[in-house]
């Protein structure tokens, strides 16, 4: 497809549309603009989505999917709940940062804040052990919490997208710390230091979603949804323009794209992901207090994203798995008073040897030890 067609597609999507609605609008536009020759199996009359699935699914997808589906039936409830579910939740929150930083070039430290806003919205509007909670039904609370997260993330984006690099980090960090102190010192709405206890997931269809197994599948569902959503989104015209603005914002601007609008829209998307993560997180902990949105956790989300690698959405989840495993089990490896040393040491080692995190480490190992694909892919003809 030519650049001119892309631009036309983008412009139809952009015209009059609000930033958060861009991704879907852009997606429809490209679907219309796609020439029919792009259909890989034009002879077959299978539905389009099946062809798409056939083309993109590979054995590794099947294996990973089988693994995550079978895992809870093999390991103890503790591992399902505290290790696997927690890793999926933080993976989802880190994914929102991977999307912003890896595809949009904007490192935001406020992702945990956005997640915390959604979590606090659930605690304040829904039922909790604190008298000030409003006790609305979950069917209202969760959508409102997500809307709050998207709106706040859009606002944060709108404030910070005109800055670059370290200044973005500074602004988002300042917003994160300000929110921390707000919830710490405000008693009328956020109940200060003590926050909210007993914020549990609802019982729906007779299932107690707080039990390890249902909760794991809830987290898994939303993590997969988030993962495939990002996978799809970065291939849409919106995603490609976003990557263009990451690589050269000036050129994209001169090509006629509204760089600021695209970036703010990216923040809105990341707000949705972080919001889902935040709702799951408050249900996971069963409580939310200012400690959950403190500076430590703002940084931890960045650590998770960097640890896994920002080149691919799966990096966020890999980083989260390593992070949660270390945080849970490092205390068993070494003298119990010194276990934070192990955690810090591992992080330092990974980042030192591979600036691209675990994904980069793997790519390096493959280059060194793996088969050279150039040679094997061109079989020699017999003379």
């Amino acid at each position: 497809m030519s650049a001119a067609k892309w631009r036309r597609a983008m412009n139809t999507g952009l015209a009059g549309a609000l930033p958060p609605r861009q991704p879907s609008a852009g997606g429809q536009a490209i679907a219309m603009a796609l020439p029919p020759t792009l259909d890989p199996y034009p002879d077959s009359d299978a539905p389009r989505w099946l062809k798409f699935l056939w083309r993109t699914l590979s054995p590794r997808h099947v294996f990973t999917l089988a693994f995550v589906l079978l895992l809870p039936f093999v390991v103890s409830p503790f591992v399902i709940y505290q290790v696997a579910s927690q890793a999926l939740i933080f993976g989802l929150i880190a994914l929102s940062l991977t999307f912003l930083a890896g595809y949009g070039g904007m490192v935001s430290l406020a992702q945990m804040t956005v997640a915390g806003m959604a979590g606090y919205a659930v605690a304040v509007l829904g039922a909790s052990g604190t008298a000030t909670s409003l006790g609305w039904p979950w069917g209202v609370v969760v959508p409102v919490a997500l809307v709050v997260a998207v709106l706040c993330s859009t606002l944060i984006g709108w404030l910070s997208v005109r800055t670059d690099g370290i200044y973005t980090i500074m602004i988002t960090l300042a917003i994160g710390v300000a929110f921390y102190y707000l919830v710490l010192q405000n008693y009328t709405v956020f109940n200060g230091f003590q926050g909210f206890q007993k914020v549990y997931p609802p019982k729906v269809w007779g299932i107690n979603w707080r039990d390890p197994l249902p909760f794991y599948f809830l987290c898994l569902f939303w993590s997969l949804a988030g993962y495939f959503f990002i996978q799809w989104l970065v291939r849409t015209p919106f995603g490609i323009v976003l990557q263009g603005t990451r690589d050269n914002a000036r050129r994209m601007n001169s090509l006629g794209y509204n760089v600021t609008a695209h970036r703010v829209a990216a923040y809105a998307v990341s707000g949705l992901l972080a919001g889902v993560g935040g709702v799951l997180l408050v249900w996971y902990n069963g409580l939310i207090s200012p400690g959950s949105v403190g500076t430590g956790w703002l940084i931890n989300v960045l650590v998770i994203a960097v640890l896994g690698g920002m080149k691919h959405p799966i990096g966020a989840f890999l980083g989260a798995i390593v992070f949660i495993l270390l945080q849970t089990f490092a205390i068993d490896l070494i003298d119990r008073e010194r276990f934070n040393l192990v955690i810090g040491g591992v992080f330092l080692a990974i980042v030192l040897f591979s600036p691209d995190g675990l994904l980069g480490l793997w790519a390096k190992l493959r280059m060194r030890f793996g088969p050279s694909q150039v040679l094997t892919s061109t079989p020699r003809r017999p003379p």
Partner: protein, 417 residues
Amino acid sequence: MKLSKRIWIRSMLCAAAAAAVSGTAFAQGAPLKIGLLATLEGPFAAGGADGMRGAELALSQRGGVVAGRKIELVKASSNAQPDVAVNATRKLVEQDKVEIMVGPLSGGEGIAVKDYSKTQPQVTFINGGSGAQATTLVNTSPNFFRFNTEGAQWMVGLGKAAMDKGYKRTMIIAEDYAFPYSQVQGFMAEYCRLGGKVPLKAWVPLGAKDYSSVIARIPKDVDSLLVILGGADAVNFLTQYENTGGDLPMMGGSITVSQDVLNYKGKRRDSLVGTISAGPVADNFDGADWRAFVADYRKAYPVSAGGFPSPSLFALVYYTNMKAALDALAAVNGDLSGGQVKYRETLSKMVLKMPTGDVRLDANRQAIGTTFVTEVVKDAQGNLSTKVLRKVDNVDQTLGMKKEDFQMGTRDTPACP
């Protein structure tokens, strides 16, 4: 590319599963496990470490063996945040499979762990050091026991001591969470009844570094300050108050004048001499059992090995709770069968012999025990310690009031401006 990435992902997840499975397998056929949770990070790190020492001391006094079974302590750390405490407890209970759980240290943590204990009826939870009233007052859990007296009980007698000293108007500076609310309530219940006035309460966030705005708000007409800050916060406040030239006499909360604060290095700490306070521990208490306990502590943890000159409040309360766990275990001869029914019954009914006096539990499984009113003194070596002004026995959770009259402490109750 695809193949290698797949292997990578799978090996990561397999490693995760393997670590988990091997951990579970290890738990079987091992000695009796007791989980121990204290804050080794965050604002109460020094107190948490001393709490661990107290718990270990209780075990080593029995030689690490109870009723012929070897006891293994499985330790975990938190940072005074409730979510971290619950995660650490969950690991001890569900992953390490401890049968008895001792901890946590801080007030908010205690409430969260108590809520969690309801989901694990097969394990007996015994408090560590947390002293929030609500833990055993509202929404109680049938398998959560607390053998230490709590924040409000610790302040009994201080109100009267303050009036005796002639402090008629007092400003309160306290951290903004459940435990200091309890302490303030315990103080004001008595102080207000005797005619004292508290015109201003300043609630500061836990872990605050800058107290200048609080110091600026101290009214001119108060004649004393009640400072209920713990660990590093107390030292920060005292230094800043001294630097601004403040000279009002001070009273301290139970953890403000504990050994972990009194022994921070620095010349400013001398200003603490003469401070009156109340709490479950008095360094210079002249009971024979107490002196034996202090000698044991000093022998096991000399100052050169990181111990305090005298056991801190956290060492004592962790020692109390761990000793209760072990004594009851010895009384039932290590029998934890049948959902630990016998064990829990013994815990509820036992009279625990403590260095500071006997402790028994009320119907909510909350301790009834001794409180000391103390004053800070300096000894010949320059160490600060607390001497006893008055000993109050049999302090219960409603502070001697009727259940209907008793109001749990919050930010705004009680009030007597």
